[in-house]
Amino acid sequence: MKRELFEIGFVGAPNVGKSSLFNALTGGSAKVSNWPGTTVEKKTGIVRFDGTMFVAVDLPGLGGFRAYSLDERVSKDYILRGDYKAVVAIADLTSLERSLYVAIVIAELSPRTIIAINKIDLMPRDVVEKFIEYLSKKLHTPVVGVSALKRIGIEVLIREITRMAESKCETDFSHNIYIDYEELNKYIDEIKNLLEKHKSGKEIKNCINLRGLAANFMTEDPDVERFIRDVYGAEILNKLIEIRERAKVETREDLGMRIVSLRYGFIKRLLEESGLESYVEKSLYEKTLIDRIIEAPGGSILIFLGILTLIFFAIFTINTGFPLNVIFSALGLEEIASLIEAYSLNGLISAGFSYLSEYLSDLMTPLPYVIKDLVINGIVTGVGAVISFLPLILLVSISFAVLEDSGIATRLAVGIHRTFSKFGFSGRFVYPMIVSLGCNVPGVMLSRTALTSRERLIQILSTPFIPCQARLIVALAFSQAVFPGRPLEQALLIVLIYVVGFLVSLLSGFILSRSMLREKDLPELIIELPRLHRPYARVVWWISWSYTREFLIKAGLVIFLLSIVVWSLTSFSLSGYIGGEGSVSESIGFMLGSILQPLLSLFNINSSTAPILGFTLIQGFVAKEGLISSLAIIMNMEDPVEAIRSLGLLPAQAISILLFMMLYIPCLATVSVIYEETKSLRWTLFSVVYMIIIAFLISYTAYILLLSLGL
């Protein structure tokens, strides 16, 4: 028998450790989807404990109840309309005044609120216990002390959730939390009474406390007004607005400001009377070494460049074994050097897959060739492509998670904001930039941290210019083909590619913000800084694994399916299967490639080479590493470097074509994520065309320049 599981919402102010608590409860097994009709991420997980089972919903962080961002509005909507049995509002023992504000606003609205005070391991147990008891009595709301990291109080919280879920929704709210709104009380009560008289029955589903609803209505919150209109109708809403207008005239107060002030006053008194010594960490006043560096002129940019360089070298080492192979060969240990080159992480993976191909090929000897071909060159290649990305994605995700959990990432974003805002980005663009070095797919997804939808769109459109790992593989092959045996020139070309990629991405922000935004809308930043601390291994793992898994699901599937499509395009001509002995130049894919001939002729590429390059450019659209693997297939050579060399391109042609390949289009996995994030076919298409145009302008300029230099 399948039992309907009930839902529990988890909500809280920023930096209270909401995600940690959510992960501690669900064991990090969250499922990620989108909230209906939005691109806001929805995380749900199943909690199983001692015969209890329920669905936990991780609601986006809430700074208050006047939702500012799209994410916050989702949480708010859930509190008002969601189908939950309880809401766990999380507060932080180390910043009670601020975090209780959010918890109390929610408790005031929903009597099904449980307040969880996180980080209780930082204070003596008896002090915490006394405080929790006091708070629970004063707020008429269940309060539980927990420590998500030390796993304290989790059982008590689950028991409290179960108890709440089994209890009936009360219609008498007189035992609920009561905030004294002083001179506004009489208006709030008038509104409450009017709502009570016209009870439609609809609002009882989540048992919203009508006094809390009335107080939020007084703040002129448009979302609350809409909610009241939906439930009670426009006529009642108009009557309420009359009462509010009267309150404005009679009290001469700014109602919203007054209500927020009174709530904070309520909390301040509550804390003063509790006798709890306010816990203020010294680190709030003291500058740490990290603060000093970030604040020094140009410091944050230096740190940012340092992080980028470190990640760049990690990518390099994973793919090539460099610089270890060079060190060993300099020491005269040539054998070890070549071993490292063969067994770099990527070397190992590709060795594994070619072994698998051989094994499968032997196994399938009795089967028709076309099936064997599909399995080995289509499916195994596809899986291999996805797997070869995993180590790097995980590595970049881990570095990102360390920055994020320690609180450095937020400070970096703040420090770099001034520089980035000149390009139309807020400081938050550092997140997508760092992650994109591994793969653009999670980079585009990170645009969600933007404050406004326009800023977000600019980020989404500019992110795919950042060279990802796949493009590094292409650049490596080209650099070796263009400058054989000249490591210095090779390295310079690689650096040039990265510098161009980042500059174009920044420039793109500049162009887009100047054409889409007015001056006064330039990105601003207001953000609560988390305390700096050593990252917790468990939290780092949760963050990085959730990114890696999202990559596997989103990009993995696309890359895998498209590998099969590419195999089909290269293995079939219009008259049928040509794999095995037939030549690729008869295939459908090759025919498509010759469409690009006119473009390539601008680079003076002759008519026999142009369709080959055209074909690889189409392959590269599918997945960037396809740019060189397909070249190798067409030229019928194992080594892609040899394949590029045998095209007989001039250095000027090769370098400008390489630049074009680096910038010309987001790969299909990225395109699908751009669509997911913008939910707009128009902007997705724009992104593709926009990149092609920019790539052409830059590579053609480079070609002319390089020619004049005599290359």
């Binding site: 006047r66 601020r98 400001m257 927020v260 306010s278 609560e528």
Partner: protein, 78 residues
Amino acid sequence: MGVNYTSLDLASPLKRYRIIDIEAGRGLREKILEMGMTPGSEIRVIRNARGHIIVLVRGVSIAISRGIAKKIILETLE
């Protein structure tokens, strides 16, 4: 004239301040208020850097870019 007004972007880490008003538009104003920067509350400037100001309000440090800081009106105490 004992009372001395300034906006947050001009505030110094050496003095104590009280918030008087938030002159931002709807939405942003509510966000600032709900972060705890309500009129009458004390605010401490931890740092006034070139691009942003870091303040301490109700036990939380908040980074605010200059454009927004201009809209937060303070009264100098002492």
